[in-house]
Amino acid sequence: MRKIFLSLFLVLALVVSSFAGGTIKIGVQAPITGKFASEGQGIDNAVRLWVEQVNAKGGLLGKKIEVITCDDEGTAVKAAICARELVNKGVIAVIGSYTSTATEAAQATYFRAGVLQTSDGTSDTLVKHGYWTFFRNSSPNSAEGKFTADFFMNFKKYKRIATISDYSTFSVDLEKAVVDNTKKLGGNVVYRGKVKSGDQNFTPILTKIKSYNPDVIYFSGYYTDGGLIRAQMVQLGIKADFVGGDSNDNKEFIKLAGSAATGAYIINVPLPEYLPYDIAKKFLADYRAKYHEDPPSIWTLFNVDGLRAILHAIEVLKTTDTKKIADYLHNELKDFPGITGPITWDKRGERITSAYMAYEIQPNGEYKIVYPTK
């Protein structure tokens, strides 16, 4: 009897809690200030733009959506505080964060509170915890590592490979994935090094790498360092190619590297303008119209796609029960048309649909897809 009462009470509580609030609360956890501020502000802008559009059409389940933003500054400490804050404010889902470090620091809190989280974080550790609340919305490092190794060995046929990462979880994991996969294909990694992000002066490590006489220098960190590494490589007279991981895919890379940008390779999932999806074109146009600039990077769009998938699930299921939404996203959502391409998640919350491309930067700053060859 007590059990029945208890379950009745729980059901009632659930019903009350899901209908009591006039809004559906969605959290944004992103680095609004600090080193990754432009990326974080892009995520916040994009989420707010999409929610505005949904609200203009009457909202979801007859309710308006409310966005609550928390600035995690890209650090683990602030991320943990943000997670607590957003949970306390009663969000059902959180979009973000941008960095794997901040995402990982907040994951457990959302899991315990049953709050959904989607992030563009690419570190492989993110999906290893087995949290049913977590959905990784970009492609995993392991997939990028495999693609990059393939590009090195089967397309460019490099004989001597040097790699550099920074100290972030993301960059370290990606570099490791690239090296592991390259070695699997019989590649010869002659040097592996680390730089401190934001150092600006990379000539000491590059001078050292020069003595190893590599065919290519691969960098798995962020464009703010990548652009400078490329510029200083050329200045030091290093003849090797430069291949940058996905986070070098930013227009500022070209400005930082200057004329040295020409000929640099960057590996990433396809850019929105290369996607045949109307929704991508429309969203980019709306974003430009509202904020008078392009989204800072593709990562902004991954995060919006996470939001869109969750809102889609709420609409289909007619509930904001996060357990049910998670089940739906894990098992039933197949090839949901995303801004960044079709979205499907596996049981671990790993996005399994994405295609990488290698771009070569042209003298006019345009990208040219060089691999896969068509």
Binding site: T33, Q41, G193, K194, N201, P204, T207, S211, T224
Partner: protein
């Protein structure tokens, strides 16, 4: 051997920048016994102001070899004014307060400048135009030396020699040194210590602004929070050389740059920063006053 000479050039280039910034720390400390933690952010600000001035001037049909000196002069003047304002607002009211108050005030002022930069210019990195200084490199036996590197090395050296002569051979220089030894006694001898302190901020800030412009022109990308990294390194350089000691700051900056380059080149770039602090600790243990610190005490 190629690698050795390349690292030597790498180290001296960054070392010159550290030295220019370290001079600001050391001169303020010398006279006021205050670590001006806002100095690094002032350096970052100068990189931004320099970029603005440059963008204004390059539009006109003036050749770059005229534009660049003007950029340096205008930026130095603007930053010197900001430095003086900083002293007036953040430090002068606290001059007789416990020293910790002034340090907190300095940290706060640094944060205000840093966030001010972010508010005005945004959080994304700003990038110096690629063609300000012609992209010329000389390759001497496999060792690469750029025109910009040469400018940094020569101009830093000239500025440091001028400063050294100014402080040691002129009357005002003597007044500065007297104020550094004992402010009260200096006052009794008829030295206007307030004016000396203003002068110190003018000199320190303008030297820092040259460092900031070098960072922008050589490394291209500037960030609103880069003042912290350069400030910290320059601060360590000042301590290594003996804080309060002008030749010490120059030596400390150069040594730190070289040390960083050689550790990164021959040991591990991963550990370059750790070794910087190990060096700092060793120097603090065996020569707590820094490498040239004691000589000042003897002069006293």
């Amino acid at each position: 051997m190629e690698i050795f000479f390349q690292q030597l050039i790498n180290g001296l280039t960054i070392g010159s920048i550290y030295a220019l910034v370290a001079l600001g720390y050391t001169m303020v400390y010398g006279v006021m016994k205050l670590i001006n933690f806002a100095h690094g952010d002032l350096v970052a600000l100068s990189a931004y102001i320099g970029l603005v001035v440059m963008m204004q001037l390059t539009g006109a049909s003036v050749p770059n070899y005229i534009v660049i000196p003007i950029v340096f002069i205008i930026t130095a003047i603007v930053i010197a004014i900001i430095g003086v304002i900083l002293e007036r607002i953040a430090y002068r009211p606290l001059r007789s307060a416990p020293r910790l108050s002034a340090v907190v005030s300095a940290l706060g002022a640094g944060m205000v400048i840093q966030n001010g930069i972010m508010l005005i210019w945004g959080p994304r990195p700003k990038i110096y135009p690629a063609d300000v200084v012609p992209n010329i490199y000389w390759n001497i036996g496999g060792v690469s030396l750029g025109l910009m590197q040469l400018i940094i090395l020569v101009l830093s050296l000239v500025l440091m020699v001028v400063l050294y002569l100014f402080v040691n051979k002129t009357k005002i220089g003597t007044a500065i040194r007297a104020s550094a030894i004992d402010q009260l006694a200096a006052k009794l001898m008829g030295i206007n210590v307030n004016k000396i302190i203003v002068l110190i901020f003018i000199i320190g800030s303008s030297l820092g602004s040259v460092g900031g412009l070098f960072i922008g022109m050589y490394y291209k990308g500037i960030y609103f929070n880069m003042g912290w990294i350069y400030g910290l390194n320059a601060f360590v350089a000042a301590i290594i050389g003996g804080i309060g000691n002008i030749p010490g700051a120059m030596l400390g900056g150069m040594l730190l740059g070289l040390f960083n380059a050689f550790i990164a080149g021959y040991v591990s770039s991963t550990w370059a920063d750790a070794f910087t602090y190990i060096l700092l600790i060793i120097i603090l243990i065996f020569r707590p006053t820094g490498i040239l610190g004691e000589r000042v005490a003897e002069k006293v």
